[in-house]
Symmetry: C2
Subunit: 212 residues, 2 copies
């Protein structure tokens, strides 16, 4: 690995120099290796970190505190799978209110029915129950069969994501592999949601009365 | 339909009275029917509108200008399918930069391969190409087979959504049907993304080395 100056770090990561300096001051980016009193050199880990922070801020729309929690989660666990899982948990918003028992029970039934091994009171399951509560509160409850259809639908993309993660570069170190996984999830969320909009549009054009 | 006062409008929609008044001033909510000089009565359309605005602001994280564009799109078309499609377009962010020819070509190939009837230079297709560019720029391009897996995966949920829309209440008027469709999409986006996180978690717990 050839170290680089700030200007190259900026161009490689797509983050402007002023923003890189801001992230350094905010400790979202570790310092480079000092060269003399005023200059420092940076490595590939800095490029990866900047790409991740940029995606969390610009694509996921996170504030700096939430970014900090994601980064802390990535570093708190020594085990790769636990580090990825822990960082992914921080990508789900912490619910404001406890979800209803009704929605909690629906999520538990969904997990049991699909033989999912997730923690039924974990952060994701709680976020899902809260999302179901929001649909109930809007007077548009999500039918059980639609929820089950959604749950089945995400399996194949998730398997493709993980196959890619494991197969792609077995020599990646823990920091690199964790960054790769979290960055991949954040950047592919919009791909999935946009494709969903396109499928709605495609079906509407074919089916709804009066469509062109 | 029994008209209601502001307090009931607030409790039915889950939007605090002060916020309802703010939305009235900002013309995100049409005025009620005046009763005397200082009071007004509201109907079911007001409840629906408030639930929609709340979901666009709180769940989708939109600013008021983007909310305004979604509402304007819903009202600009007289045809139901066009009104829903037009509003859904406003749910995709307008890309900052034109996507690369390379990503545009990948999206066009995806649409052609799946016999999708979407406009290949439309807003959604452009947003998808930009999302692929962001993955390229991060050094983590999305493989063609993973993209195709995502595209196949969203078909069944989209069909379930539309079956529900059409079957649910054929007596809905245009305003109600459009609100129902847009609100449903905004509130089920988090369901889909959270289930995706859960599928990642489920697979990681089963497969990755060192997982518990």
């Amino acid at each position: 690995m050839i170290p680089m100056w700030m200007s190259e770090l900026s161009s490689r990561s797509g983050v402007p120099v002023a923003t890189v300096k801001f992230y350094l001051r905010e400790r979202l980016l570790p310092p480079g290796e000092a060269v003399g009193a005023t200059r420092a050199r940076y490595g590939e880990a800095h490029v990866r970190r900047l790409r991740l922070v940029r995606a969390l801020v610009e694509t996921a729309g996170m504030g700096l505190e939430q970014v900090r929690r994601v980064l802390a989660a990535m570093e708190a666990e020594t085990d790769l799978a636990l580090a990825i899982g822990s960082a992914h948990l921080e990508l789900s918003p912490a619910p404001h209110d406890a979800p209803s028992d009704h929605s909690r029970a629906r999520v538990a039934a969904l997990l049991a029915g699909g033989e999912w091994v997730n923690e039924p009171h974990g952060r994701h399951a709680t976020a899902l129950a809260s999302a179901l509560d929001a649909l109930d509160a809007a007077g548009q409850p999500l039918a059980d069969e639609v929820l089950a259809t959604y749950a089945r639908a995400v399996r194949a993309p998730a398997e493709a994501d993980l196959a890619h993660l494991v197969a792609d570069d077995p020599t990646l170190d823990r920091e690199a592999a964790t960054t790769y996984a979290v960055l991949g999830t954040v950047l592919t969320d919009p791909v999935l949601l946009t494709l969903r909009r396109m499928a709605h549009e495609d079906l509407a054009r074919r089916r709804l009365p009066g469509s062109s």
